[in-house]
């Protein structure tokens, strides 16, 4: 087994009476793609929220690269190397696509705060070229100067993926990255994600599309009602009767 990059240890979270996460234990190996699947409301997004500091767990800790990140500020967690792509696209709707990708690139280079007001954007060639490159990779190269807010939902998702990728995170958390995309765009995204897998970026991906899950994931966890009910390789999960009952509705995979 390789190094553990993310270690979720006995994490518990309740909302009022709802036990959204119950005693979650999960270890993610560096360089792997780990998929989290489960029915709606299972707690998948909540788990990611705990990982990026959007929510504090009631109990338990999350370690990233050996360091406890629970209780840290979201922007500190980002700089530690954890980047999230949200379920509903979180972009900068009033900026152009290029600017949307340049903003995270500046964060990566300049840190949490820098007062670089005398420099002109036009002299930031390196960052701009990198942003163009990433957008090209994702098939958004023709829309560099378009308003991000007026793009289709699928394009917004790809844009947000670009915003994540330009930061070269060590751990990328993807919350349903292909939802709302056409078959063609979905395939392209899968292809891209496989390609960057070779660069050694660890990924956690939440996905309802089993085609995507089984073609990408090295390991899978199945979440239902806040609990991990099964864990294993795609083949193991496919054959697990508990999973079929809880989530896949008995359907043949």
């Amino acid at each position: 087994m390789g190094d553990i990059i993310l270690d979720i240890d006995k994490v518990d979270k309740t909302f009022g009476g709802l036990h959204a996460l119950a005693d979650i234990d999960l270890k993610i190996e560096e360089g792997k793609i780990h998929a989290i699947i489960g029915p709606n409301g299972a707690g998948k997004s909540t788990l990611l929220n705990v990982c990026i500091g959007r929510l504090e767990p009631d109990r338990g800790t999350v370690r990233f690269n050996g360091e406890i990140i629970t209780g840290k500020k979201p922007y500190e967690i980002n700089h530690a190397g954890v980047v999230r792509v949200f379920q509903t696209p979180e972009i900068f709707p009033d900026l152009s696509l290029l600017q949307n990708v340049m903003v995270p690139a500046f964060a990566k280079r300049d840190g949490t705060f820098k007062f670089n007001f005398w420099k002109s954007l036009s002299s930031e060639k390196a960052i701009r070229e990198e942003a163009e490159q990433v957008l090209n990779d994702l098939g958004l190269g023709e829309h560099l100067n378009h308003h991000a807010g007026s793009m289709s939902r699928g394009d917004k998702r790809r844009l947000e993926l670009a915003m994540g990728l330009i930061q070269h995170p060590r751990l990328l958390l993807l919350d349903e990255p292909t939802a709302g995309m056409s078959r063609h765009d979905t395939n392209r995204t899968i292809e891209l994600l496989t390609r960057i897998k070779e660069r050694g970026m660890t990924k956690i991906i939440i996905e309802h599309d089993m085609h995507v899950v089984f073609s990408l994931a090295d390991t899978i966890s199945v979440l239902a009602q806040g609990r991990i009910i099964a864990q294993g390789t795609p083949d193991e999960i496919r054959g697990n009767p508990k999973v079929q009952e809880a989530y896949l509705g008995g359907a043949e995979l």
Binding site: K73, N78, L95, F113, F115, S122, H143
Partner: protein
């Protein structure tokens, strides 16, 4: 929304400088070429350009910027009284002092966003107003306002052996800051202030401020601590307000508490929105329009209206005068309110949006002939 280039910036600055310096010429046809009004344009221009750095870029709507205007004026008058009638120390100290106030008020107000932020800034400004009006009378001279006196210390002037007969006027190394020299002093500072704002607008810092306005949550998960960004923008815009306040004192060395009242804070909001918040030039257009019409409408009275409507039959003229009278003179604010309502309802992007729409008409006509699939966005 393509990226700004250095060549573009240079062209903008050359045009802007030429336009400001030649204002007495091209404003002559509409009768706005006298120094008093020109100074007002320049001073409130600085105020609005600074306000736009906060409101236009970050979307944080401060309703308390007049506090910094007032702080600037008081500081400047004290500088005239204690140090020197030279305007440079007065301007420098005012900007600094306004910066300190903005830091303190901003630090607390920025713990909230949206309407709560606006209310906090409003509350702070009203506190400043009340303090200046009564509690701090030894510093502000309360209701009467802070004025120059014959026996002021003016240590720097005394040191250099400069003395005055009677009440002195403000100077720039001997050049009296009244009339056109006064305007040109304000104009140069407006040009510098505009240049700084241009740099900020086209810098990575400015882009990050826009990103905060667009989606602050996203900024936090993108690795930014947004608070220092907002505070920096707040302090910068407060310093612009302080500079404007100092210049008000330069052109008329007197500071009163009413300068800090909420109506003064509201005015800069109106001017910025009227012209077009978040655009470089918009706030200046707003200033120009409001200050020009204020000048015309507030000077009108029943006498003039009667003369204006003299061509109508007597009874109709009387009705016309009765109907229009509430909107002029003291009632100018009623006109301003109406104008503002119309703009916000029909043209939320202000005059700049109106001009953009007009500029887009030829293209739209062309598009109707040859439909294009994706609309490109143009630069703001």
């Amino acid at each position: 929304m393509s990226m700004p280039t250095l060549k573009n910036d240079l062209a903008i600055m050359v045009l802007f400088t030429a336009a400001v310096l030649s204002a007495p010429l091209w404003l002559a046809p509409i009768g706005a070429d006298y120094p008093d009004l020109l100074q007002k344009f320049a001073i409130y221009g600085i105020f609005a350009v600074g306000f736009n750095i906060l409101f236009g870029l970050t979307g944080y709507l401060s309703f308390g910027h007049a506090a910094f205007l007032g702080v600037g004026s008081y500081t400047a008058v004290w500088s005239f009284k204690l140090l020197s009638m030279n305007v440079l120390p007065a301007v420098a100290l005012s900007v600094l002092m306004a910066g300190v106030f903005a830091y303190l008020i901003g630090f607390i107000s920025l713990r909230r966003s949206g309407i709560y932020f606006s209310i906090l800034t409003l509350a702070f400004a009203q506190m400043c107003y009340n303090l200046a009006y009564s509690v701090l009378t030894p510093i502000t001279n309360g209701e009467t306002g802070l004025q120059l006196a014959n026996d002021d210390a003016r240590v720097i002037d005394t040191l250099f052996g400069i003395s005055y007969d009677g009440l002195p006027s403000t100077t720039l190394f001997g050049l009296e800051m009244t009339g056109y020299p006064g305007f040109y002093f304000c104009a140069v500072l407006l040009i510098l202030g505009f240049f700084l704002s241009l740099r900020i607008f086209h810098s990575p810092f400015g882009m990050k401020l826009r990103a905060i306005k667009s989606n602050q949550t996203r900024m936090v998960y993108t690795g930014y601590n947004t608070k220092p960004y907002l505070l920096t923008a707040f302090v910068i815009s407060g310093m612009y307000a302080g500079l404007a306040g100092a210049l008000l004192a330069v052109t008329d060395p007197l500071a009163g508490a009413e300068r800090m009242q909420w109506t003064a804070s509201g005015e800069v909001v109106l001017m910025t929105i009227l012209g077009g918040a978040g655009t470089l030039i918009g706030p200046l257009l707003g200033v120009g329009i409001i200050k020009y019409f204020e000048n015309i409408f507030s000077a009108m009275n029943v006498q003039q209206l009667t003369e204006m409507f003299a061509f109508l039959p007597d009874w109709l003229g009387k009705i016309a005068v009765t109907l229009t009278n509430p909107f002029v003179g003291e009632g100018w604010h009623l006109t301003l309110g109406l104008l503002f309502m119309l703009i916000v309802i029909f043209l939320p992007g202000g005059v700049m949006e109106g001009m953009r729409r007009i500029a887009a008409i030829p293209r739209k006509l062309k598009q109707r002939a040859v439909p294009k699939p994706t609309p490109a966005t143009e630069e703001k």
